[in-house]
């Protein structure tokens, strides 16, 4: 190596950076001057009470809503995400609460829905089955009996796992999970949280939106709290405890005297 690489201190540029995001619907200010960092290989828990703006922020990142002001940076470059298509072209996939699975189709068919592999005009089932099996194996989603069974026959946790696997199938760099453990039992929740950790270990940036602080503290490396459309706290998960997150969520600040009731 003749040439010495210049000693650039690569300041861990987050994969996705949101700066000063504003969004209002009519007179309602849904987001105001929101900053958010989503680094690769880390799980960020997004917390907030109902109406705090979690889903509006998510939809701005996923291309469903267009922000009124502010900028989104992807890998350091400013980007405009005008549609879900744009988002997935960048490598952003969102798993909504309703999962968007077709119950009658099997696991492979669901994972490839809209992006089927085709050879000479015909579906290449073998190739899709191989790729789906490889993705599921890499995420260690192994409890399903057969990847050719319709998703109608799967349990809630398995369905969530299939939806997540579908999202990461396309070399996604950022996966947003909207309430992934809502309506799941204890064991199923554990299964999904383990899956989230494996995504992180694969170097994927994950944002988990959740009401359940147990889940957030179990998987999140970082925590961000929204309160009435403002980002009131954002730091390493170790900088929070349950009490402080709840205070941020309910009052937008921390350290005030407890409210007398």
């Amino acid at each position: 190596m003749a040439q010495v690489a210049p000693e650039v201190k690569v300041a861990e540029e987050p994969l996705l950076k949101v700066r000063g995001l504003d969004k209002h619907f009519g007179p309602v200010q849904a987001l105001s001057k929101v900053d958010l960092d989503l680094p690769a290989g880390q799980v960020t828990g997004l917390c907030g009470d109902n109406g705090a703006g979690k889903s509006v922020l998510t939809k701005c990142i996923a291309g469903i809503h267009q922000p009124d002001a502010g900028q989104i940076f992807w890998e350091g470059r400013p980007v405009e995400i005008r549609s879900a298509r744009d988002a997935s072209r960048l490598g952003i996939e969102t798993v909504y609460q309703d999962l968007a699975l077709a119950d009658n189709l099997d696991i492979v068919q669901n994972m490839f829905l809209g992006r089927e592999r085709v050879r000479r005009g015909f579906l290449d089932e073998d190739e899709m089955e191989r790729a789906a099996a490889a993705t599921l194996a890499s995420l260690r989603v192994t409890t399903v009996r057969s990847i050719r069974q319709p998703v109608a026959t799967l349990s809630g946790g398995q369905r969530q796992s299939v939806a997540v696997a579908k999202a990461v199938m396309w070399n996604s760099k950022l996966v947003i999970l909207d309430e992934p453990t809502a309506a799941l039992g204890v064991m199923q929740t554990q299964m999904v949280l383990d899956l989230v950790k494996r995504l992180r270990d694969h170097g994927v940036a994950v944002m988990v939106i959740s009401h359940n602080l147990n889940d957030v503290f179990e998987v999140a490396d970082r925590i961000a709290v929204l309160y009435l459309g403002r980002m009131v706290a954002q730091d390493k998960a170790s900088a929070f405890d349950r009490q402080s997150v709840v205070e941020y969520m309910t009052t937008g600040t921390v350290g005030r005297a407890p409210v007398e009731t």
Partner: protein
């Protein structure tokens, strides 16, 4: 009540027994109820109608099936996507009348192959166009398919009569008679065309992206939309396919009877839907097979043909088809429930 319970009992025992087999064999067996009915009918009429087993009977049945089967094939796709196309019968009539009027207009003696080819093209184009209009109304204007095709059902019937002034169109060239009643190596053209259309549709259903989306739309339209599929274009193509097949049926019906009338397809609509339903495609969409529809269509024709051979009044055919529809759908629904229950139960569960 008693009867339905013992039928349910029988079906559930059948399902339970089949779960002990491999999953592939199991699902194959479960889907064969209409095939079992078909085979049962073939055996039954073999005993009760002397001399029924013959190639003449076979080709009579296949020929009689081929016309409404074309409608049923297109209808299968529409129903799997959880829509319905009520206009196929009048599109058949409209396309048949239009092609016959054109043929009569440009025919100046001789065998008339070229003239018939022009008429065939006209029938197809009219069917495709009629279907595309249905698709645009459903896909772009967002009307429910039942309402949209109810509207065009009447409109196309009206167009057929406008074109022909309400009279049947006859005096067709010999080439038309050959198309309708001729054969190669003993197999009628009509049967060959219907078989080719069935193969084409079966391939479309299970081996193409477009076919996959038909099933996915029937189960979860929103999931398909979010997957980035152009649903409007898909809907237009769906109804255009149905219309094209109806246009083809119109041409062949004109060729077979050497006469075209707006009423040619009036009974075919309901028979086509019956074939789809007997073949195991639920009106709720998301499921179904082309082969099921072919079997369903054959069941209907065999009942008609067998009754005639037995000397039973043809009126009974409608009654028996009605009974078979009810029983077939009941058994299908019951199986579907049990199949999902069985698959979920045999699942190694990790949850509560």
């Amino acid at each position: 009540m008693e009867g339905s319970r013992s039928l349910a009992n029988l079906v559930s025992r059948w399902v339970v027994a089949s779960t002990r087999l491999g999953p592939r064999l199991q699902s194959a067996l479960l889907r064969m109820s209409s095939l079992a009915v078909l085979i049962g009918l073939i055996i039954f009429f073999g005993f009760t109608a002397p001399g029924w087993y013959s190639t003449t009977t076979l080709f009579n049945i296949l020929t009689a099936t081929s016309l409404f089967l074309l409608l049923a094939l297109g209808e299968t796709f529409v129903i799997i996507s959880s829509g319905i196309d009520l206009s196929v019968g009048s599109m058949e009539g409209m396309a048949g009348v239009a092609s016959a009027v054109l043929i009569v207009h440009i025919y100046h003696g001789g065998f008339g192959i070229g003239v018939v080819a022009a008429g065939a093209a006209a029938a197809l184009v009219i069917g495709l166009l009629g279907g595309a209009i249905n698709g645009i109304v459903v896909g772009y204007l967002g009307l429910n398919s039942l309402i949209a095709t109810l509207a065009t059902y009447g409109a196309y019937l009206g167009f057929a009569d406008i074109i022909s002034n309400g009279f049947p169109v006859g005096n067709l060239p010999p080439a038309m008679a050959t198309l309708g009643n001729g054969s190669v190596i003993g197999i009628p053209f009509l049967v060959l065309i219907a078989a080719a259309a069935s193969l084409f549709c079966a391939g479309l259903a299970s081996h193409t992206r477009w076919g996959r989306y038909v099933f996915a739309i029937g189960a979860n339209r929103e999931a398909v939309r979010r997957a980035g599929v152009n649903l409007r274009r898909h809907t237009v193509l769906l109804f255009t396919l149905s219309g094209g097949l109806a246009g083809l049926a119109g041409l062949l019906s004109t060729a077979k009877f050497l006469s075209a009338s707006s009423q040619a397809g009036s009974t075919d609509l309901l028979i086509a839907i019956a074939a789809v339903v007997i073949g195991g495609t639920p009106l709720t969409g998301g499921e179904g097979t082309i082969w099921g529809t072919v079997v369903g269509a054959l069941i209907i024709t065999i009942i008609e043909n067998g009754f005639v051979e037995m000397g039973v009044s043809g009126f009974w055919q409608l009654v028996v088809v009605g009974i078979i529809i009810v029983v077939a759908v009941y058994v299908d629904e019951y199986q579907r429930k049990l199949r999902i229950a069985a698959a979920s139960a045999s699942q190694p569960r990790v949850d509560e």
